[in-house]
Symmetry: D2
Subunit: 454 residues, 4 copies
C-alpha cells in the first residue's frame, strides 16, 4: 500500500510503582499506528541507590518485541518508550530507539519524534569534538548534543534548553536521566505531545489516545517550545523558549493521528468529518452512495454523506490479518494482493454511482486498483474526492513523502490523474477548507503550498 | 473479548501449476476470520509417478505458520488447507488439520469444518476394529472412517459417500488423495462450501471471499449433501445423498461469515443491513446517532440508521495491532484492556443519545464495558439493539457457545440484562426478522429456539 | 563425517515424584550419542484420576527440544523418552518418538530402538483391518499392533507378549500406559536395555551411562526376550519368550555405545582396548607414536600402545563447537571443513612414523583426508589399523550402513584401499579378535560375515 | 564448571573475493574456545565507491549467530570478527564486538582482546570532551580514542599509534576502515596475535589454529608493539613502539590456547606435555594409571605418564552434547550434574591407584567432585597433580580470575586443600618448571607471583 509515512510515537511515564514498562507497552500499543518498524523501552527505578537504566528494543510490533520475557527484565517506576517508522527502505536495529548511553554525568535515555533540518551541521560539529555515532538518526545527534551541553550546566532540563537553542526542525522528545523525565516540543509545535495524569503518575505521549490506554486523564497539550521536567517534586514547566509562532503539522489531522485523538484542542474525527462536508459543498455530484477507503477515508466519507444527503455505505471489507510478514505473492497471485487486503462488497456497489473518499493520492496505483475493482463489481460510476490538496512539495520535518518522480501530482494535472486512475470525476479538498476544518489552528501546510515555517 | 466461535475454514484447489500451496495461503488468509489457532496445508503433484503428499501445519495465523521456508517445501498442483479455532481453552498441534495418513490404498489428507454428533459411537466402533487416534477431533474419526470404507469400494468418492451415510452432524469436508479432491457438504447444509473456477483450476472454499483472493470466479454453492470429485477429468457431482431438507446455520449471516461473502445466494452485508432495518422498525427510539460495535455491528447499524433516519457515526476506534500474543495486562492495567482494543471517539458521543448495535450478547461483560465507556465519554443515553435473538440453547453442530452458566440470557430476563449492562433500553432482533433478512432461506436456528434439525 | 549410524536411545522411569520429565531429560542427554535428529518425552501422573499422558517432541538435540517452557508442561511421575537418528536423509517430525495415541483401552506412549524385518507384512495386515499410519516408522506399526492385541487380552504386558510373538527383528521397547511401564528386549538381545534403581524409582535405559546420569544404580541387563512390567506393585518379570539364542550387536562395542557403558556384562572401554591390543599383536609395525581418531578410536589406540610399547599421543584437536547447524562452507572453504573439525597437532606428528587407529572405514574419504593432513604436517609414515573387520553385508536390524555402492570394502580389496587412502600400511581387526574382545559373548556379526541370526 | 576465563578471540582478513564473512565464520569457529558468549563480524568491500561497512553480532556461539540469512547480508572482501567471554555474570548484546561507528573521517570497526588498566582515566578524559558510551567495555573506550586521534593525523595506522601511546594494559586489536585493516599487539605481548597468508589474502588471528581453518599458512607472530597495516599495497609494519620488554601471558600455554596452537614459537601441546613430565620428576608417586581431566589436563597427563612410566588411561567420558543452554537441574538432579558432563569409566579405575592431572584449581569444587566419583567407582587412591602453581594474585590484563574470597588457594594451604578435595596427595607445578616448559620465553606470571609487568 502506498502511503505517506510518519516517523515515530513517543511515550514517557513518571510513576511510583515498578511496572512502568508494562504501562509503556500499553501506551506504545495505542501509538502503534505511528510506527511499526521497531519498538523500544528504557526504564529506571528512581528509589534505588544506583540509578540503573535498563532497556530493550527490537524490530517489529510492540507485542512482538515485548513478550513476557523481555518485559520481566525491565523493572522501574519511570521510563520512556518509542515506536518507529523507517524513512528509508532499509530498516536497522541500530536506528531503533530509545538511544541509551553513558556520558560524563551518568546515563541518558532519549526518544524522539521529528526531524532536524540542521542535523548535518550539528553532526559535523560533534564529529570535530571527537564524537562517534552508531546510527544515522537525528536522535543520536540530538542526544549527544544534550549530553555535551549537560557538561556545561547544572541540570538535564537546562541541557535540553541549551540544545534546543541549537537545533532547528520538528521534535517531540523525552529524555530520561536516572531520576527525572524531561519532555520538550519544538517551538513551532510541528509534532504533537500531550500530558496526562493517573493518580500520582505523570504520563507524556504523542497522542492522547495513549493516555487512555493506561487509564490516565488528559491534562493538556505541551505548549510548543515548552520544557517539562518530571521529578519527585512533580511537574515543572519552563516556557522560556516558547514563541507563539505555531505551525502544527496539518497531516496529523488528515492522516497520521488516530481517529479518536484530539491534538492541540482539535478533534481528529471532527476535522476529517468537516473536510468531507466541505468536499460535498464544493464538489457535489449525482450519486447513489458515499463510501471511504478504510480506515482513514471513513470519517470524511461520513461528512460527505451528511452534507450531501447521499447515504453512506461500507463498500470494502478490510482483512486485518494480513500482517507485516505476509509472504509477497509471486506470479499470478500478485495481481490479487490488493483484493486480499481490501475486497469490494459487491452487493453494496452493483449498479450504483459511487462517491469514493480517500485521504490522499501519492503514486495513484492503489486508488486506480480500487476503482477498477469497484467497476468490476458493477459500480456504474466512481467519483473520487480526496480529503487533502495535492502533494507538491517535500517535507523537511519528518514526513516521508516519496520523491518527486513518484508523486503523481508533480507529473500530471488533475484531469490527467483522473484519467489515469479511471475515475469519473476527481476533486481534491481546497487548502482553505482544510484549514477551516481545524478551526484555523496555525498549521504547517508546506507540503501543499511550499511555505516552510522553520 | 467474549464471542461465539466458529470452528474452521477449509480450502481446496485442483490446479495445473505447482504453486497450489501459494494459492492456498492466499485463500486461507481470506478465511482467517474463521479460525486463528492453527493453520495447515497439504499438497500433491498429480503428474508425478509417486503421488507424494507433503504437508505442513502449525499453531498461529496463516502468515506465521507459512513463512517462505515452509512454503518452499510444499510443491504440488493440488492441495487442501485449513484454519482452525479451538473449541476448548487448550490448543494443541495434534488437533491441527489437515489430517494426513497412509492407509490401505495410499495416502489421504482431510480438512473439515463442522461437528459430528455421533462421534463417540463411531470412535468406539473404530476402536473395536483396532483403530488408534492421535487427537480428540471429529476430523480424525471421520478421516479414519473414510479410509475404512475405501477398503470396501472402488474409489475415494465412493468411500466418502459410504462414510457420509454413517455420520450425523454438520460438515464441509475436502479429502485429497494423490490424484483427486473430493468435497462434500452435509445434507442439511449447516456449513457453507462453494465452488470457484480460475482458468482451468477448480477451487473449493468455505466462503466465496476466498475465491476472489486467488482470482477465481464464483461458480455456485455446493448443494447440501452433494459430493464433488475433482480429477483430471474435471468436476463430477454426485447428488444421491441430497435430501432437500436444508437448515443453513443462521449464525453465518449474523456473525461468522465475512461481510463481503455471499452464502447460499444470500448476501451477508444485506442480511445484516436488513436486520438493522427491522430493529429500527420494531424498536424505535429517540436518539441523536446510531453506531455499531466494530466490526460485526456496523452493517446492522447502517441499516438501523437508514430506516430510522438517525445519522450513523463511528463511535469507536479499533486498534488492529493488538495481536493474539499481546501480553495480558496485570494489576491496574487490566481494567483498561477493553479501551486498548476499542476506544470511544469522545467528540462523536459527548452530549448525544446513542443507539448502539451489536451482533449478540454472550456473557454481557463486553457490552457493559462499552456502555460504561460511552457514558464516561459524555453519552447521555445508550440504547442497545442486538441483531440476533438471545442464545438459549447449546449448539451441537460446531459453534462454540459458552455453557449455560456463562450465558447471561439463561440467567436473566431482558429487563435484568438491561440493568446489568447499564443500557437505557435493550431489544433483541426477533427471530422472524432474522429469517426474513435471509429471504426465508431454510435455516438452523436451534440456538434460539431449541429445534434441532439433525 | 561418514559414519555408520545407530537409530535410537530409549529411556523410561517409574518414579514417585512429579519430576519424571526432568530426569528423562538427563537420561536422554546421556544417550544423545545414539541419536541427534529428534527427541521426545511422554509422561503421566499415576496418582491422578484421569491418567492423562502428556508429551512433547521436536527436531534437534535434547537441550534444544526441552527448554524450560516445554518441560514445565510435562508433569508426571512416570514417563518414557527417546532420541532418534534418521536412517534416511530426510528427517521429519512425523517420525519422532514417542508414538502416543488413544485406542480402545485408553492411551499408550511407545518408544523403540531397533528394526523389524517383517514390518511390511504387519503393516499390510493392519491396513487390511483399517489401520492408518502417520509415519513410515516400524515403531508406529509395532505400537498399533500392541494396541490391537490389547483388545484381546487382559493387560498391556500381555498385549506386548502377544505382539512380540508376531514381530521379528531387533527391538528394545518401552510402552507406557497411564499406570504402567512395560519394557521388552528382543529374544536375540540385538539391542541393549538395562535396569536401574534409584531409591524407590525404577529406571530403564539403552545404556547404563544413562542410569548414572539420574543417580540410579545399575541393577542388571534386561534378559533377551524378557518382558518387564513396572507398576505400583514394583517390577515383575515375564521370561516366557526367552530362548537362550542370543546375538548381541557387535557394533555397540565397536562404535555405538558410550565408552563408559557396560552392556551385557561386557565393558565397552575394555573391549575396544583389547581389540587395540590384538591389532598390535597381529599387525605390528615399526613406529614412533600411536594415536586414534577422536573420540571413538582412542581406546583401541591406548590398547595398541600398551601392547606394542609405542607411546600414545594426541595427534588431533577436535573442535567441539561445530554444531549440527554449522553452515556448509562453499567454494574455497569446503576443502578445509575437515580441518575445522579435526586439526592435526603438528608438533606431535612432525618427523614421526605414526600408527593411526580408527573404528571403521565406510567410504574412505575421511580417513584419506586425515592421512593427508598428517603427512602435510610432517608425518613420515601413517600405518592405519581399523578396530573392526571390513563391512561387507547390509544390516537388517537397524544399523544404517550405506549401500554397497558407497562401501569402499565392497569395491576394493585391502591393498587397493590402502593405496586409495594413502596409508603406508592398512590392516583390519580379525573377526576372532573382535569376538575375543567381548569375552566370546554371543554376537551378531552379520555385517562382517553375512550370517544373520534372525 | 569452575574455570579461569579468557576474554576474547579476534580475527581479521584482507582478501580479494567477496566472501570474507564466510572465512571469518570459519576462523571464529576455530577460536570459539576463547569466548562463547557473543560473536560478531563486520565486513567491507574495498572496491566499491562507498566503502560501506556492514556488520552483524549476537549472543551465542558462532554457528548460532551466523546462520545463512545473516551471512548473506555481509558482503565484502575485508573484515574483522570477534568471539567474546563475559567477565561478569551479566551478558549483554551492548558489549558484543565489533564496535562499529561513524566518526569525523568515516567509519571504523574495532575488535579487541585484552584489558586496559587505565580505562577509567581515558574514559573520564573522553567524557570531558563530550563522548558518550553504549557499553562498559574497554574496547569502546579504545575505539573512541583512536577515532579522536585520527582527527589529528594523516592515517588510521597513525591514529592507532597515537592511541597506543596513551593506553596501558594488554591488547590485541584489529581496526578496519573501509579500505584498510590495522592490527596491533601490546608492547609486552601479553595477548597473542599472528599473521597468515592464503594466496594473496592476509589473515590475522589470535591463534594460528584459526589460520589453518581458512587454509592460510602461518607467516609469523606479530611482534609485541608492532603495528601492521594491510591495504591494497600489501602489508606494512611499524615497529616504532616495540620495546623488547616482553611478558607473554603464561596462561595461554596452561589453559587458554588450543592444544594445536603455537604461540610466539612455543608449541602449546609440548609445553603442557613438559609440565606433566616435570610434575612426574618433582612429585613422583606409586600408582597404577595416570589420567587427565578432559580436555585441558590430557597433554600434561601424557607427559606425566611418559616420564613416570605409569600407563596413561582415559578415566572419564565427556558428554559433548551438554550445550550452554542445558536446563539447570533442580532438586535431586543437581548433584548428578557433574556426572552428566564427565562420567567415570569404572572399568578403568576400579581397584587402581590413580594420578589425576588438572590444569588448575579455582574454587576446588569440581576436582573434589571428580575425586569423589573416582573413589565411588572403586579407585583406591587419587593423587592430584596440578599443571600450574596456585593462583594467588588478581589479573589486571583480562583474565577473569574469581575474587579472593572464592580462590581456595588464598584461604587454605596445600595440605588443607588436599584434605578438602579428598585427594591422597596434591602437588602443584613449580613456577620454574612452567617457565622451562615454554623454553624460558619471557612471560607474565603475575597471577602466581604478583609481579606485574605493566
Amino acid at each position: 500500500m502506498e502511503k505517506i509515512r510518519e516517523k515515530c510515537g513517543v511515550f514517557g511515564i513518571y510513576g511510583h510503582s515498578s511496572d512502568a514498562a508494562e504501562k509503556i507497552v500499553c501506551g506504545l500499543t495505542a501509538l502503534q499506528h505511528r510506527g511499526q518498524e521497531s519498538a523500544g523501552i528504557a526504564v529506571c527505578e528512581t528509589s534505588g541507590a544506583k540509578g540503573n537504566i535498563t532497556f530493550h528494543k527490537g524490530m517489529g510490533l510492540v507485542n512482538e518485541v515485548f513478550k513476557d520475557d523481555s518485559l520481566k527484565t525491565l523493572e522501574g517506576n519511570i521510563g520512556v518508550g518509542h515506536v518507529r517508522y523507517s524513512t528509508t527502505g532499509a530498516s536497522n536495529i541500530a536506528n531503533a530507539q530509545p538511544v541509551v548511553f553513558n556520558y560524563l554525568k551518568g546515563t541518558l535515555a532519549t526518544v524522539h519524534n521529528g526531524n532536524l533540518i540542521n542535523t548535518e551541521e550539528l553532526r559535523s560539529e560533534l564529529f570535530s569534538d571527537g564524537a562517534v555515532f552508531r546510527s544515522d538518526t537525528d536522535t543520536e545527534v540530538l542526544a549527544t548534543l544534550i549530553a555535551k551541553e549537560r557538561a556545561k550546566c547544572a541540570s538535564i532540563e537546562e541541557a535540553v534548553r541549551l540544545a534546543a537553542a541549537r537545533i532547528r526542525g520538528s521534535y517531540a522528545i523525552i529524555v530520561m536521566s536516572p531520576r527525572k523525565l524531561v519532555a520538550m516540543r519544538d517551538p513551532a509545535g510541528l509534532k504533537p505531545l500531550c500530558i496526562g495524569k493517573c493518580e500520582d503518575s505523570w504520563v507524556i505521549a504523542s497522542e492522547d489516545c495513549a493516555l487512555k490506554a493506561v487509564g490516565a486523564e488528559f491534562v493538556r497539550d505541551v505548549v510548543p517550545g515548552e520544557i517539562l521536567t518530571f521529578s519527585e517534586e512533580g511537574m515543572r514547566s519552563d516556557t522560556s523558549l516558547c514563541t507563539g509562532n505555531h505551525a502544527h503539522c496539518i497531516f496529523e489531522y488528515i492522516y497520521f493521528a488516530r481517529l479518536d485523538s484530539k491534538i492541540d484542542n482539535v478533534d481528529v474525527y471532527s476535522a476529517r468529518f468537516k473536510v468531507g462536508q466541505a468536499l460535498a459543498g464544493a464538489y457535489p455530484v449525482q450519486a447513489d452512495i458515499v463510501t471511504g477507503v478504510p480506515d482513514s477515508g471513513l470519517a470524511a466519507a461520513l461528512g460527505y454523506s451528511e452534507q450531501s444527503g447521499i447515504p453512506f455505505k461500507l463498500a470494502f471489507h478490510k482483512n486485518s490479518y494480513l500482517g507485516r510478514t505476509f509472504i509477497k505473492p509471486t506470479g499470478s497471485e500478485r495481481k490479487h494482493a490488493v483484493e486480499l487486503k481490501l475486497n469490494v462488497i459487491e452487493s453494496v456497489v452493483r449498479g450504483k454511482r459511487i462517491v469514493l473518499i480517500d485521504d490522499s493520492i501519492v503514486r495513484g496505483t492503489t486508488i486506480a486498483n480500487l476503482i477498477s475493482h469497484l467497476k468490476n463489481a458493477g459500480a456504474l460510476e466512481v467519483h473520487v474526492r480526496i480529503s487533502s490538496p495535492p502533494f507538491l512539495y517535500p517535507c523537511f520535518y519528518g514526513t516521508d513523502v516519496p520523491d518527486n518522480s513518484e508523486l503523481i501530482a508533480k507529473k500530471l494535472d488533475t484531469t490527467e490523474i483522473r484519467k489515469r486512475i479511471g475515475a469519473d470525476s476527481l476533486f481534491y479538498a481546497r487548502l482553505e477548507d482544510i484549514e477551516r476544518s481545524v478551526g484555523n489552528l496555525p498549521v504547517c501546510k508546506a507540503c501543499f503550498d511550499g511555505h516552510y515555517p522553520v
